[in-house]
Subunit: 194 residues, 4 copies
DNA sequence: TATGAATGAGCCTTCATTCAT
DNA sequence: GATGAATGAAGGCTCATTCAT
């Protein structure tokens, strides 16, 4: 069994994703997560400081992986255009293929204190930075217009994609999210052209 | 005094904005709102179904006013370009001048159940529709590229602005939000040009 | 019904004496006290800050009454001898007639944090002071030996009586406590004679 | 090193005295005692039945030593007067020189169930008996008044000294405890003289 | 309408104890 | 004997909501 070797930390995190997605953060009792993970309530507290810490860890771990993929993907891209396209592709397809995670990150993780929101912001920082790097690279290449306000633009791009994902989730995932890649990227590239 | 005539409903709503902004939704006890409003706890329940209903009403009422302004502003605009610029102007300046409301709508209102998120979506619908109308108008005028996916683009535009506002709030309002209007609008217009 | 007029504060305090005496402080759940008092759990917290506050209030209220009696009794005494006798009489008879209160004050109230021990000490202060005053009076009268260390002696007297009461309780109240008055007082008076 | 030979039982007991003194009984987790002793949590249960048993053992062992000293000291005394003086001397000086033990026996050990209180009473029995023997000896010698109620008097004497020690501890040990020996003993002897 | 005292369901967390290794 | 990860029962407290006045 891999479950034997799979450490409790990951086990609990997996259970938490499921329970949070089904019941929301405030609707998820710690005991419910413990039950789902097949451990005792107290065991949770051997691996997490408290309930909120489960949420933060969830974000850090799972989003950390994603950000890693983003970085790898961007690195492989020859041009800034290509990099931006890949970022959007990954953003949409990863969340589309992982609707439970999408649900937790887009809906549940937002239901938290300012304290936590800042922690989340911290975890997202590398992603936002990645977008910024692509913008700088594009300007260096001459692909993107010189004088672009990168601090602002990275927010516009991230916010735009983020809203598309949330809207897709709230609609009940009635349409294809990856189907929006082409138009989304075109929108960004036109806006960025010199 | 208008306070004599000002009905309890508005009185409680005003108190709620203040209390929610100071303590967050989950940190705001109904009794605290009642105290701030100068009414008894029970009185709240003569005007609102439950605690969540205060939040929903708050959103509907206060955002309703805002959306009214948006519509009026858009109607006065001769061109779609102009209309889009005014929307962004209003979006940023209104929230910049009303940081308490901004805080509640951008941060606190998001800390809520899917149920409520849908209600909020409902309240925002007219605003999203307004953006859509401007896009259609622009295509009709020939100012915006034909074949623009309006359903997607309205989300990109709203999401982009929304993220900029949230980021500004979380940063502690250290810079001017209205100072971002020019670059934000340029970004959108370039993206939309034929 | 007096229970209609009897305020909840006293009602809860009475219930607490009973429950504490039966189960000890740590064995007494707040819910058990509430049930005994015939109120809801939450009601307790309208009258007391927390569980420990019930104990402190209990001490302050009930012991306050006792100390009042002691003071009245001492005031009526013509001589210091007489006053000391009355103090011992009251001390033993009041607790003998009120074994539940005796149990709580001698056994349960001691099972508490240093914090609480200090609060209890504060509540007992007037009683200790009263003994001190009697000692001073006796020295003035010439009944008690001059140069008696009142700070020490008041402790010796209080501690001696306190131990007798506790021992009587732990023994299961198998003998008469008031039957010890004569010998106890004689012991003190002999020790105090010039 | 004696620590090599010093068995775990004593090791844990020493750790317990320290931890109890610092945190109180209810504030002392078994794991904290284990850590202080440098053993695993589970090891505790190889030497003690449960948490309360640590407290009882502590009392029995450490107080047993003390009582041994008391007995030796009393045996060496020629007269009952002398014996009583030595008992008081030892009582005050031992606890004064060992404030940690004093704290545990006077304050923490009292924070316990009736069950435990009885066990403590049992451990103190030899000490109380010792006082009783001295009283009997004094009566035989003719030093103490005939007809003294020894069962009562031993309690008065023990309770008086006990209160002095507790009061000294609660005051923060601001004055000398051994400085109270002379007056305490005089008080007892006067009370006991024929 | 308005009040606010009373309700009581609900839940996170602690920690003494066990047991497979 | 020794370990320490795992257990899971237990309980103090909060607060949205009700209802007699």
């Amino acid at each position: 069994m891999t479950s034997k070797k799979m450490n409790k930390f990951e086990l609990i995190l997996d259970a938490a994703v499921k329970v949070f997605a089904e019941n929301g953060y405030h609707g998820s009792q710690v005991s419910k997560i413990a039950k789902e993970a097949g451990v005792a309530d107290g065991t949770i507290y051997l691996y997490f400081k408290n309930k909120e810490d489960i949420l933060v860890s969830l974000f850090r771990e799972r989003l950390g992986e994603l950000v890693g993929k983003f970085e790898a993907s961007a690195r492989e891209s020859a041009t800034a255009d290509e990099a931006l396209r890949r970022i959007c592709e990954l953003h949409y397809t990863e969340l589309e293929q992982n609707p439970t995670l999408a649900y937790v990150t887009q809906i549940e993780l937002r239901q938290s204190s300012l304290e936590l929101r800042k922690a989340i912001g911290q975890a997202l920082k590398p992603y936002i930075d990645l977008i910024e790097n692509v913008l700088v690279k594009g300007m260096d290449e001459g692909t993107f217009r010189a004088g672009t306000d990168v601090k602002l633009t990275r927010l516009l791009i991230f916010g735009a994609m983020d809203e598309v994902v949330t809207s897709w989730l709230i609609s009940g995932r009635k349409y294809s999210l990856s189907g929006q890649i082409e138009n989304t990227v075109s929108f960004f590239l036109r806006a960025l052209k010199p």
